[in-house]
């Protein structure tokens, strides 16, 4: 691991701007330093990895659903409360999977951001 000198970002006198644009400028100025960019890159990488893992997992489950119906003979026609299982699986069962993936993602993405905030706040 190479050592980097941790310095405060160069501070310029605040320009008289109003509202969100000033907030935006200060947010970006803080990340202009070399170290700031390292943190930003690592945040982007972890968010992308998280999104790809959740998407991949969801697509695998999605592909598994019709496969189960093909592999297990008679399963598609089995009735639960008068409704064929194939219809229940694709018409109802897939939505909780979508909701669960989304909930997991939102939670973890917020956690990644909190970690970034801690790091970037310490520099």
């Amino acid at each position: 691991m190479s050592r980097v000198r941790v310095t405060a970002p160069p501070t310029s006198p605040p320009t008289p701007m109003r509202g969100t644009s000033r907030a935006l400028e200060s947010r970006e100025a803080a990340q202009d330093s070399e170290v700031g960019q390292v943190f930003v890159r690592s945040l982007i990488r972890s968010q992308l990895r998280l999104a790809l893992v959740v998407a991949g997992g969801f697509l695998l489950i999605l592909a598994a659903f019709p496969l189960i119906l093909v592999v297990v003979p008679g399963l598609a026609a089995t009735r639960i409360a008068g409704i064929p299982f194939g219809w229940l699986l694709l018409g109802v069962g897939i939505y909780p999977v979508i909701g669960l993936s989304a909930w997991l993602y939102v939670r973890t993405a917020a956690r990644n951001e909190a970690r970034y905030r801690d790091l970037a706040g310490d520099q």
Partner: protein, 488 residues
Amino acid sequence: MNAGVALTAVAVVSLATAIIGFYGLRISRTTGDFYVASRTVRPWWNASAIGGEYLSAASFLGVAGLILLSGTDALWFPVGYTAGYLMLLLFVAAPLRRSGAYTIPDFTESRLSSRTVRRVTSLVVVMVGWLYIVPQLHGAALTIQIATGLPSWVGSVAVVVVVCITVVAGGMRSITFVQAFQYWLKLTALAVPILFIIFVLAREGAEPLSPPAVNPTDLAPAGPYQNVSLLVALLFGTLGLPHVLVRFYTNPDGQSARRTTLIVLGLLSVFYLFPTAYGLVARMYAPDLARSGQPDAMVLRLPGQLVDGMPGDLLSALVVAGAFAAFLSTTSGLVVSLAGVISQDVLGGSVRGFRLAAVVSAVVPLGFAFMTGSLALAGSVGLVFAFTASTVCPVLLLGIWWRGLTDAGAIAGMLTGAVLCGGAMIAGSMTAAGLTPAWLAQPAAWSVPAAFAVTVIVSRATAHRIPASMPRIMTRLHTPERPLATER
């Protein structure tokens, strides 16, 4: 169906839409209000509004009709429409909100520092919007013709008139209220009749006319290629829909954009249970509706066919009202976002320009709708998703996640996608129905990867054109907003 009751239902929905629009007029004053409701809309309101806007004629009428025709194969449509929002949450929601742009062309311009990219994106967005409005107007024409017996053009014209009045009066702020109201109206209008029908069938102990697995027509079922290609279109197409994206700017920050999307996923999941139920009940108790040649009308006809007398009339009227809400909400959402794009690019971004642009963006697709015949609604909307997935989606995804995107790559990618997918759509519409080869009928599986590949290759070849502002913009897209207390 009782024409008087149905007409009353349509009039009530249109009136309610217009009234909420005028109510919104009193609170929207500035240009910012008109475009994005000043970014102060709460997540539940916003999520209902997104749901209201997204659930179009295809979801309300088309999906159920398609399930009646092709059974479990058609269940991929609602799954894809919902899972598209999952992809949007994963890859687009928070960064897009943090970009601070108003429209997709705003985003591509600021990300790539190029006016030309902005113009090409605007062109693509307007094409997507118009393509998407046309099936809504076809749905309105069909509904009015079946419900009241009036000539079908009345339906399309009525939708365009009500939408123009609402958008011109209130802009985005009132649209948010209108859309939120319309989600709940659509859900009620679909849920109450089918629950009542199931209750009646169960009480009478009615025997199914045919088992759900039996194909009511002799149409060939979709093969695995078509299902996969459809899913590609729906998963990646949702990312690029202009009227869906503009909604994310009404969230106060990136994290609330994610929370809003989470709620939207719940609302969509609940909604899509009902078209599925319609499809299943119709397959078992009214398979003859599949042979009428208008499967899209099944949802409108089912209550009258299975429930007799006045209750049947009232339920039919409720479904007609919900269907009309679907056409109105999706069309007005599209018109607002198109008007935003057109007025900023052509008319200088004033409120007056926005109103003029709104009328233009509603009237042009009306002309298209008169010139073209109605296809199966779910199918034609699926094609629009394929077009979006091949044009807007690669630029958006790569712009958010890849530092190497250049303006030349973005333009090349959008044009490739537009030519490939647009060409397939035109070629497909010229071959006789039923004879179109699968790869032409569902182009997404090859046109989307091609657009991505061209975007990446051309960007790599023109790497010297990566804008100097890129690191700053990437930081803005991905870093969380600070709590307000530390910003002041």
